[in-house]
């Protein structure tokens, strides 16, 4: 009988396992987030030429002798110009040609040649400006802004100079004349 008690005591040491939930096996996911940025960028393509030499500006004979001769349209191409963001426009600023002689002009003479600059193929409305220098050379600067391009764009741009005129079609004083044109491409909204 004592051995039975011993056995019973031994049997009392039943190990009671903690209740293990019989979980179903499932997949597990992990993620690696990948991110980067692209900064807003505008680039104007390499120009087909970097200057516009017009040569001799006046007629040397005929009824318009001494006055501005006919000058054909001049162009500069900027291929593969682009902006990678929306809402951009072109701005063109021009300086009328002025004689290097800065002395006051005599009656009947001018020292300025005005012209129109247009940059096309960006937005629906081209950027254009016509200089309005006075005969004596005052107010030679002018600038104009084109329409807003609503999406990123890559295009070949063309700058055209034409409409060369002298105020009141006066005689031009002798000398070397120079003006300039600058093109800017960037965000349309003013910062």
């Amino acid at each position: 009988m004592t051995s039975l008690k011993a056995t019973a005591a031994a049997l009392a040491l039943l190990v009671a396992l903690p209740g293990v939930a019989n979980a179903q096996s499932t997949s597990d996911d992990a993620t690696v987030d990948v991110s980067g940025t692209v900064a807003g960028l505008c680039i104007l393509g390499d120009p087909s030429r970097t200057s516009v030499p017009l040569g001799q500006l006046i007629n040397t004979s005929g009824p318009q002798v001494g006055k501005l001769t006919a000058i054909s349209a001049q162009t500069i191409n900027l291929p593969n110009s682009f902006c990678n963001f929306a809402g951009t426009n072109l701005r063109v600023s021009a300086q009328a040609l002025l004689s290097s002689d800065t002395n006051a002009v005599q009656t009947g003479f001018a020292r300025a040649v005005n012209f129109t600059s247009t940059v096309s193929n960006w937005a629906t409305q081209n950027a254009t400006v016509t200089t309005a220098a006075a005969a004596g050379g005052a107010t030679p600067s002018a600038q104009g802004t084109g329409g807003t391009q609503p999406a990123p764009k890559i295009a070949d741009l063309t700058l055209t100079l034409n409409g060369f005129t002298v105020p009141s079609n006066l005689l031009l004083v002798a000398g070397t004349y120079s003006g300039s044109v600058t093109i800017t491409l960037g965000p349309a909204a003013t910062p």
């Binding site: 051995s3 293990v20 179903q24 096996s25 499932t26 997949s27 890559i154």
Partner: protein, 185 residues
């Protein structure tokens, strides 16, 4: 104390008289461990900054593949069964600021290939083409790093990248063998 003496005395008495018979009982202990996989480090981030090439040459503004190619991060996980498998899904980087169709000459998406390596097994996927991940590979029982590496980045037309923030994701899945708890033999 008195009872101890009693027991001892009883034991001696028992040994002295070998005639009584002993009986032995056994208790079986059973348990089970389910096949399971778990990521203990379930996320990581690769931020590469500017994705486009700098400068003013013919490739300015286009994808700089060196930014993504070779990028690697370690996840950490384990699987406790020999039948575990691993698969990878690579989701392309998309411009989240510009969601319209990319204009002619531009891309708003960067594709790449992703490889996950764990326990000397490699699972791969490319973000190009139909959605959905790559094939599952056998990874087996392991605990340790799951290394994720990017390569072969590209853009659909090799065009200019539209400006903005680009986001994508690599999803790694560990799948244990599908089994229910078994009692051991």
């Amino acid at each position: 104390m008195r009872s101890t003496y009693l027991i001892g005395f009883l034991g001696i008495v028992a040994c002295a008289a070998p005639a009584s018979a002993q009986s032995t009982g056994t208790v079986n202990i059973n348990g089970s461990v389910a096949d399971r996989c778990l990521f203990t480090t379930p996320s990581a981030t690769i931020s590469v900054g500017e994705l486009a090439q700098p400068g003013s040459g013919t490739n300015a503004g286009r994808l700089d593949a060196s930014k993504l190619d070779g990028q690697t991060r370690n996840l950490v996980g384990w699987c406790n069964g020999t039948a575990a498998t691993m698969s990878v899904e690579a989701l392309p980087l998309l411009n989240i600021d510009f969601t319209a169709a990319a204009p002619t000459g531009f891309d708003r998406r960067v594709d790449y290939s992703a490889a996950a390596v764990a326990n000397a097994a490699t699972a791969t996927d490319t973000s190009v083409g139909a959605a959905g991940g790559g094939s599952a590979v056998s990874v087996g029982m392991f605990t340790g790093n799951v290394a994720v590496t990017l390569s072969s980045s590209s853009s659909p037309t090799s065009g200019l990248l539209v400006a903005g923030t680009y986001q994508g994701q690599v999803i790694v899945t560990l799948t244990p063998n599908v089994s229910f708890g078994q009692t051991s033999q």
